[in-house]
């Protein structure tokens, strides 16, 4: 009997290899799509080199990500954390299914074939979480430091991640105080980011120029090339005098979810991370389908919440509709010249709506799960999928 794990990972690798061998133009086509490539993750903006070894390297990174996901799933943290145990524990998928769900997701495959640098950020985040649930908090912080160094926004995951680490640590004897634990790990995170920045500084020479070209680019959003997010259209339309104010508002809005979600779901830090990944996929400045694919990748960890979700069909329909209509309207706008920017923007709104419904539904299901756990007598009063 061959191990299912090897079958899934092998099949995922072969599928990607087949795709680039059968359709050699596919990677370049995907690299050019605005839904996949944003100014901050585009392969074209980085380097051009020999295609096959690079492509295989990206495949391997994808497999590593799936492996991290498998580890997270096998730890069972999503079902049973220190302070919370899900009501429907038996409704779950094993690690291999979760990894397969990630590896065979068309959005993941598209991101991987497009050689988007988002896959490295994804790696950083997934490894941070897998190390955290595995009890290796130092590695978790280093991985998060790597992800934050690459894309800045993963730093927002620090609080839930450190809580996740602490949950794990608190189950062992001699647990330190929370405050001290958080400060220590914050120090570790800063040290890792500072170390990486120091290295980049050594390579590039000019520290401030490097900073403004990288983090300044994330923070100040100077490039308004269309993408699937909500920022570009808004900032194109805005009068320049309001730009700084709304930049602040948009970032504050994005960051504010961290506090709220952490406070409400402090007993399930892994769920906070999951829902934050959904929030990022909608509200970050340069989102692409790779952010959505990361959110879709961690969702199956909460398979036990699916029976409590109510609008999956409509959310999935909205996402499917926008994934078909988006490229069509972009074509009408850019190539056929018979449409305009509003066509595409309308569809990105539908896309964000789809993910929002899914996210809100997941949060509802998690709340309901907590409520049922606290009120066992009310359990399953009326549980149906719409």
């Amino acid at each position: 009997m061959i191990d299912r794990k090897f079958v899934v990972f092998g099949a995922a690798f072969v599928l990607r290899l087949l795709l680039i061998c059968l359709f050699p133009s596919l990677p370049d086509l995907l690299t050019g799509r605005v839904e996949v490539s944003t100014p901050v993750n585009s392969f074209k903006r980085h380097a051009k080199s020999s295609p096959l070894p690079i492509a295989v390297f990206y495949f391997l990174v994808d497999l590593l990500n799936a492996y991290a996901l498998l580890k997270i799933s096998e730890s069972g943290q999503s079902i049973k954390s220190r302070l919370h145990t899900a009501v429907r524990q038996h409704v779950r998928w094993d690690g291999v299914s979760v990894a397969a769900w990630f590896l065979f997701n068309p959005f993941t495959i598209a991101t991987c074939l497009a050689r988007s640098t988002s896959v490295f950020t994804t790696s950083g985040i997934l490894f941070a979480v897998s190390n955290a649930v595995g009890g290796n908090s130092i590695n978790a912080m280093l991985a998060l430091g790597f992800a934050s160094y690459l894309s800045l926004y993963p730093a927002l995951l620090f609080i839930p991640l450190v809580l996740l680490c602490y949950d794990r640590r608190a189950q062992e004897p001699n647990a330190p105080k929370v405050a001290l634990y958080v400060v220590q790990h914050a120090g570790l995170l800063f040290a890792s980011i500072a170390g990486l920045l120091g290295l980049s500084c050594l390579i590039t020479g000019n520290f401030w120029e490097f900073m403004s070209a990288t983090y300044g680019f994330h923070l100040l959003v100077p490039d308004l090339t269309p993408n699937v997010g909500l920022w570009w259209y808004f900032f194109i339309e805005m009068f320049d005098s309001f730009r700084e104010f709304f930049l602040g508002v948009f970032w504050l809005h994005l960051a504010s979810y961290v506090g709220g979600l952490t406070a409400r779901f402090h007993r399930q830090p892994l769920f906070v991370i999951t829902s934050l990944l959904g929030v990022f996929a909608i509200f970050k400045p340069y989102p692409s389908i790779s952010d959505a694919s990361l959110f879709f990748a961690v969702l199956p960890l909460y398979r036990h919440l699916f029976p409590l979700m109510r609008y999956t069909f409509f959310a999935v329909s909205a996402i499917l509709y926008s994934s078909l209509l988006g490229p069509a309207f972009y074509h009408l706008w850019i190539y056929a010249g018979s449409g305009n920017a509003n066509f595409f923007y309308a569809i990105t709104l539908v896309w964000s709506l789809g993910i929002s419904i899914l996210l809100a539904d997941t949060v509802f299901a998690a709340l309901r799960d907590e409520w049922e756990q606290q009120n066992p007598d009310q359990k399953g009063a009326e549980v149906r999928q719409v």
Partner: protein, 612 residues
């Protein structure tokens, strides 16, 4: 009050709400969608055409192409005829001789000249040829914009276009002497109407495949293109304007309007469209024109040399001379001169008027806002059914367990630990799998040699009979491969299939309205396909009859039927389709094999399952 009671009635009667109502709504969508289309030719729903772009000023200038130019035309024609009719030379020598002659005429007139060789392979046929083209650099321009005049040696109907080519040469010499051009004018002589312009326009934008040579000489951004076809050896009666592009893309309506306005208003030549020679502006003729336009748009093939320009957002039309009348080559030349003057006036790319329209007379059209709802309603009927089926599987279980009151408490308990979830895995894999299966015929029909096309069509016809039945047998009996399906799973299969169909068709409606409408119409029975229940003899008879009728609407049967009706061989149609895929970038097959065919197969599986 009546509404309130109706809603209350619905809530208390789930069978009505989840089974009957969606069917009624779907049917209503289909009926309204079709009726909507039939209403369009009426005066109340269509509009008269008008010129939106004021800069065009059609027919406001005097056309001077007359008199002595006719002698030049005759002279060029004689010279070309002499080479073409030379019996002593073989075909390649004649082609080379003609090409050299064209070059010498262009160069004598003072134009820059260049050539381009190309070769395409499709379905085992090789298409090769040589384009010749020459450029007038605008005396008042900066070579950033250009207009293209195309004269193919063979027209779209494969007739020798000697007069058209000669007219292009004469116009080149004539235009060169004018100082008023603010855009470059490119004269393109292609060997035929299918491949030449495609090779040229691809190379112009550096998008050409390896078998096509790059262009040694270029100008600015192309603003518009006119194709001249005059294959007749006598005077003509009317101009036939062909405007359909590849994949149903259309040129800006302003270009068509300008051509009609100049031909009809300034020159007094009638303009026809869609081969409607005796259009009396009646409802029937308007509808017929519209349906012909929709068929061409839906099939998405190149209807002339102009079609290849459309994907690059260059508006283009073909002017064909038709009938026997009083108009000569000079009248055609003046029309083209006036059209070029109008295009020369443009300050920016044509953008004012419509890109999505259905024409029903040379001066009457409907725009996208008016006609789109009909295709959207057809696509919507599938979505309504899909949503209804999804709701039905959740809210209205097919077989409710009968419980006595005593058991209720224990049942309540069982409910909490045992959640009623839908069984999604098998329906999802079946629907996705069958859609992926569509890639097989897509690949086969675009990669095999043309002599096998007829055979393969019959093979697919056979597959269409066997595959749904065998899948139905496996699904409903298991046959040791799987557990027999429960009713919920049949509903889910149908729901997913119709959801995909609905969303593909509504997306398609924004790109190619006609194709979406035609496929939607052919798929309408699929909304009502279901696993039949009831006593065996009646069920078997109904489902058997249903399967036969469904097979009459399968993609290969429709293809064979249409070929039989129009008296064209299947091989010709499929060779053209493969050529379209390889050369023009035509997407019609993808829709047929990856949208229509899988949805049809699933309809067949559902109906077939009632036999087993």
């Amino acid at each position: 009050m009546a509404l309130k009671s109706a809603i209350r009635n619905l809530r208390s009667n789930p069978h009505l709400l989840f089974v009957r109502l969606p069917k009624l709504l779907s049917l209503l969508c289909i009926v309204v969608g079709v009726a909507w289309l039939l209403l369009l030719p009426l005066n109340e729903y269509s509009r008269r055409t008008y010129i939106s772009e004021n800069a065009l000023l059609p027919g406001q200038v005097h056309a001077y192409f007359t008199g002595s130019e006719q002698n030049i035309f005759r002279g060029y024609k004689k010279e070309l005829q002499a080479i073409l009719n030379d019996e002593t030379k073989d075909k390649s020598e004649v082609t080379a001789g003609v090409s050299d002659k064209v070059q010498s005429i262009f160069e004598e007139a003072g134009l820059k000249f260049a050539r381009q060789n190309y070769e395409y392979n499709s379905a085992g046929n090789t298409h090769e040829g040589e384009n010749s083209y020459a450029i007038i650099h605008a005396p008042r321009g900066d070579a950033t914009e250009a207009i293209v005049l195309v004269a193919p040696w063979l027209t779209a109907d494969d007739k020798l276009n000697l007069n058209g080519v000669t007219l292009a040469l004469t116009l080149a010499r004539y235009f060169k002497r004018w100082s008023l051009w603010s855009k470059d004018i490119i004269f393109l002589i292609t060997p035929d109407s299918k491949t030449g312009t495609q090779a040229w326009i691809d190379a112009y934008h550096d998008m050409h495949p390896a078998s096509v040579q790059p262009l040694p000489l270029k100008s600015g951004a192309l603003q518009g293109a006119l194709v001249i076809e005059y294959p007749l050896e006598h005077r003509f009666q009317t101009l036939h304007i062909v405007y359909d592009g590849v994949n149903g893309q259309l040129p800006n309506l302003d270009l068509f309007n300008t051509a009609v306005s100049i031909a009809g208003g300034q020159m007094g030549i009638g303009a026809n469209l869609q081969e409607m020679w005796n259009h009396d502006d009646s409802y029937e003729h308007r509808l017929q024109t519209m349906v012909r336009g929709m068929t061409k748009q839906g099939l998405g093939y190149a209807t002339g040399a102009h079609s290849s320009f459309m994907p690059y957002h260059i508006d283009a039309i073909t002017l064909q001379t038709k009938g026997e009348g009083w108009e000569d080559e000079m009248a055609l030349g003046r029309t083209i001169e006036s059209l070029c003057r109008s295009l020369n006036n443009l300050l920016e790319h044509l953008h004012q008027s419509f890109f999505f329209y259905l024409l029903m007379q040379s001066n009457r059209f409907v725009s996208i806002g008016t006609y789109l709802p009909s295709a959207m309603l057809l696509a919507g009927n599938f979505t309504i059914m899909a949503i209804a089926l999804w709701m039905r599987t959740g809210y209205y279980p097919e077989s409710k367990p009968v419980q006595s009151k005593g058991e209720k408490a224990s049942a309540e308990k069982a409910k909490t630990s045992n959640i009623a979830e839908r069984k999604l895995a098998l329906p999802l894999s079946l629907v996705v799998g069958l859609h992926l299966l569509g890639l097989v015929p897509l690949w086969v029909f675009n990669n095999i040699s043309h002599q096998y096309f007829t055979t393969i069509t019959y093979v697919v016809l056979g597959v269409d009979i066997i595959l749904p039945l065998s899948l139905a047998a496996i699904l409903s009996n298991g046959l040791g491969l799987s557990k027999p399906l429960i009713p919920q799973q049949y509903h889910l299969i149908k729901s997913f299939s119709l959801l995909l169909l609905g969303l593909s068709l509504s997306t398609l409606a924004t790109l190619n309205f006609s194709l979406s409408f035609i496929i939607g119409l052919l798929c309408t029975p699929l909304s009502f396909m279901a696993r039949l229940q009831g006593p065996a003899p009646a069920r078997l008879a109904t489902s058997g009859l249903g399967l036969i009728l469904l097979n009459l609407l399968s993609p290969p049967t429709v293809l064979l039927g249409v070929c039989w009706y129009t008296n064209v061989s299947v091989e010709t149609v499929l060779t053209e389709a493969a050529f379209g895929w390889d050369v023009w970038g035509m997407w019609t097959q993808v829709v047929v094999w990856c949208v229509w065919w899988p949805a049809w197969l699933i309809g067949g599986v559902l109906l077939g399952s009632s036999i087993f």
